[in-house]
């Protein structure tokens, strides 16, 4: 693994950013963003995760294969989540059958 100048400083900066983002999450948690509450919380979390993966886990300068692995995993995770959620969100679309138990619309997820 190639060494990089000022790696310690990079780690320090990333760490400070991570802590700041944690503070931000907790602070945002007390603010009513309406339906954006969860997406914003998850976006901050995703940012933190990306920073950790890219820098602490060295993916940024890692082999392409690592990127491919990460991408594949996220793709299949998305398949699992999206196809299953499709069921819950479209189960009650009209076909004339008796409506199922779930009345919540997709928008309510983010309330």
């Amino acid at each position: 693994m190639a060494e990089h100048q000022g790696q310690v400083r990079t780690y320090g900066v990333i760490f400070v950013v991570l802590i700041a983002l944690t503070g931000l999450t907790v602070w945002l948690g007390s603010i009513d963003l309406g339906e954006w509450h969860t997406p914003v919380g998850l976006a901050v979390a995703a940012t933190k995760a990306v920073l950790i993966v890219l820098f602490f886990m060295h993916m940024l300068h890692g082999p392409r294969l690592t990127w491919a692995i990460a991408g594949t995993t996220l793709l299949f995770l998305a398949i699992l989540l999206l196809l299953t959620l499709t069921d819950y969100l479209s189960r009650d679309w009209p076909t004339g059958r008796v409506r199922g138990e779930m009345e919540t619309s997709s928008a309510q997820f983010f309330l």
């Binding site: 294969l65 995993t73 299949f76 196809l83 199922g100 138990e101």
Partner: protein, 548 residues
């Protein structure tokens, strides 16, 4: 003729004195139980999987006998339910899923790659112990009174209603899952990092491609079913709702999570089988495989698309009908790469030099039965017809054509094909052919009538049934007894060959793979000198390929 695809592989002359190989390098129980040699681990797996196969077969004997008469009372309902559940659990989790990868894959993958071992030999040994642990949990459950949920563990029956050993069996499946994760991980890393010099991706044998695709599925799917079983166990133990509607849950979520793994698991079973057949067919046609890249990429396509079709198990479950539509069309798409493979195998025979040794007979059996199994899948992927055929014996027949007619046929073919390499002995060709034909005939007789009785409306998991279904069930039971003889024969003549079989040469079939370039049985680190590969696989002839 002998084709050498590895240039400097100076073929080791077989000296008169006993050559050192992986079998005789060390003796004693310790040397086996603590081995990290992938070939020895493969043998350990072979033994344990064979035991599991016969246990699973034994469990179905009383079931088939019970079904001889419509209102038979040979078994009571509970015993019947426990028997078919054990048959399903043992066969699925402890035989078919690990079968080809853990035995043939373990033995062959490093050799086909020109490597000395798998990337993580200790992990490989660990996977066998984890497998044994899982098996122990399941056997405990069997002895302690059995389990009656069916291998699918559907909630809320499994969490609320069943009074049997759901947890130990769930734990067994959970544990066995981690065993296959370790194997899959090992295969992926080995394929990426341990290939011999010159062995580029498109020079890999197609068995390796198949194992690679299988391993991807194992890695992505198995953990999901593991955590699902965990949730099921927690709901059952604490009576806190995850899936049970009375506790606020949704039973369909269990089905989604379960089939997200268990449908791709079908491809975990069939892809290695396809890989085996892809090795056998060109060898006994003495010709290059037709459409190498199409077969290679169709394996990957199956791995990807296989994850997109799980909902076709749920067409009448109350899932969204719109999602049903999506799953239906995706299910048709996954049929295309399978069709590509069948056509390519057939085309490989064209203008070949076809011979009919035992492995090739099994391969023919595989192609025929798999084709029927695949085509009957069309009826189940089509929404309108699945509404009728769902959960009937039609489904039973369909997946047995794939899993038994397909996977077990290929497993037997592969075992016979590489038996000389694994043991250094030849088995009786005569008995081999008899067994192959008995299995084929027995299989057809067992499962063909089940398509009919399923269409007539006989639901699965019925211990007594309407009288008009009797003829078909009697035929099935008759076929199953032939099938049983067919499976028992190899046990005898293969074991017999260890003592009485003639010594096998390093390449008895005159095949091209790297594994045939080393003595039979191979030495501990597989190759005396690391081979260098300079050309694509399946080059039986020096001539340049000609078009149609």
């Amino acid at each position: 003729m002998s084709t050498v695809i590895a240039e400097p592989s100076s073929r080791p002359a077989e000296p008169a004195s006993k050559p050192v190989n992986y079998l005789n390098v060390q003796f004693g129980v310790r040397s086996w139980l603590l081995t990290t040699d992938h070939k020895r681990i493969a043998i350990l797996y072979l033994i344990s999987i064979t035991v599991m196969f016969f246990l699973g077969s034994l469990a179905i004997v009383p079931v088939r006998l019970q079904l001889l008469k419509p209102d038979n009372d040979l078994l009571d309902a509970d015993t019947y339910n426990k028997m078919f559940t054990m048959h399903g659990v043992v066969m699925v989790f402890f035989f078919i899923i690990p079968g080809i990868p853990a035995v043939l894959g373990n033995f062959l993958l490093p050799m086909m790659l020109g490597a000395k071992d798998l990337a993580f030999p200790k992990l490989n040994l660990l996977s066998w112990y984890v497998y044994l642990l899982g098996g122990a949990f399941s056997l405990y459950a069997m002895i302690a009174g059995g389990v009656d949920t069916g291998w699918t563990f559907y909630t809320p029956y499994s969490t609320r209603s069943s009074h049997t050993n759901v947890i130990p069996v769930g734990l067994g499946a959970f544990t066995a899952g981690f065993s296959s994760i370790l194997t899959g991980l090992n295969f992926l890393v080995t394929t990426h990092k341990m290939r011999a010099p010159g062995l580029t991706w498109f020079r890999l044998p197609l068995f390796v491609w198949a194992m690679y695709a299988t391993s991807i599925i194992i890695l992505l799917g198995t953990p999901v079913v593991a955590v699902t079983i965990l949730m099921l166990a927690i709901e059952r133990i604490f009576q806190v709702g995850v899936f049970d509607p009375a506790l606020g849950g949704d039973p369909l979520l269990f089905q989604h999570l379960f089939w997200f793994y268990s449908h791709p698991a079908v491809y975990i079973m069939i892809l290695p089988a396809m890989g085996v057949v892809t090795e056998i067919v060109p060898c006994f046609s003495r010709k290059n495989i037709y459409g190498y890249k199409f077969i290679a990429f169709s394996s990957l396509a199956i791995a990807l698309l296989g994850f997109l079709v799980w909902g076709h198990h749920m067409f009448v479950s109350g899932q969204s009908v719109y999602l049903g539509m999506i799953f239906s069309i995706l299910s048709f798409l996954v049929a295309v790469p399978s069709a590509i493979k069948v056509f390519n195998w057939t085309a490989t025979l064209y203008k070949g030099s076809v011979s009919f040794e035992t492995p090739m007979l099994f391969a023919f059996g595989f192609i025929g039965l798999f084709t029927i199994g695949g085509l009957t899948g069309m009826f189940l992927a089509t929404l309108g017809t699945d509404v009728h055929l769902h959960d009937t014996y039609f489904v039973i027949a369909h997946f047995h054509f794939i899993m038994v007619g397909g996977v077990v046929m290929a497993y037997m073919g592969g075992l016979h094909f590489w038996w000389p390499k694994m043991t250094g002995r030849m088995y009786s060709e005569f008995w081999g052919r008899i067994a192959a034909m008995l299995i084929f005939i027995g299989f057809i007789l067992t499962f063909l009538p089940q398509f009919v009785v399923g269409h007539l409306g006989m639901p699965r998991r019925y211990f007594q049934y309407a009288p008009e279904f009797q003829v078909h069930n009697v035929m099935s039971t008759a076929g199953a007894s032939i099938l049983g003889v067919g499976y028992f024969l190899p046990l005898i003549y293969l074991i017999g060959s260890l003592a009485y079989g003639p010594k096998a040469s390093s390449n008895p079939w005159k095949a091209t793979g790297l594994e045939w370039q080393t003595p039979s049985p191979p030495p501990t680190e597989n190759f005396p000198v690391t081979p260098v590969v300079t050309r694509e696989p399946y080059r039986y002839s020096e001539e340049v390929p000609v078009g149609y």
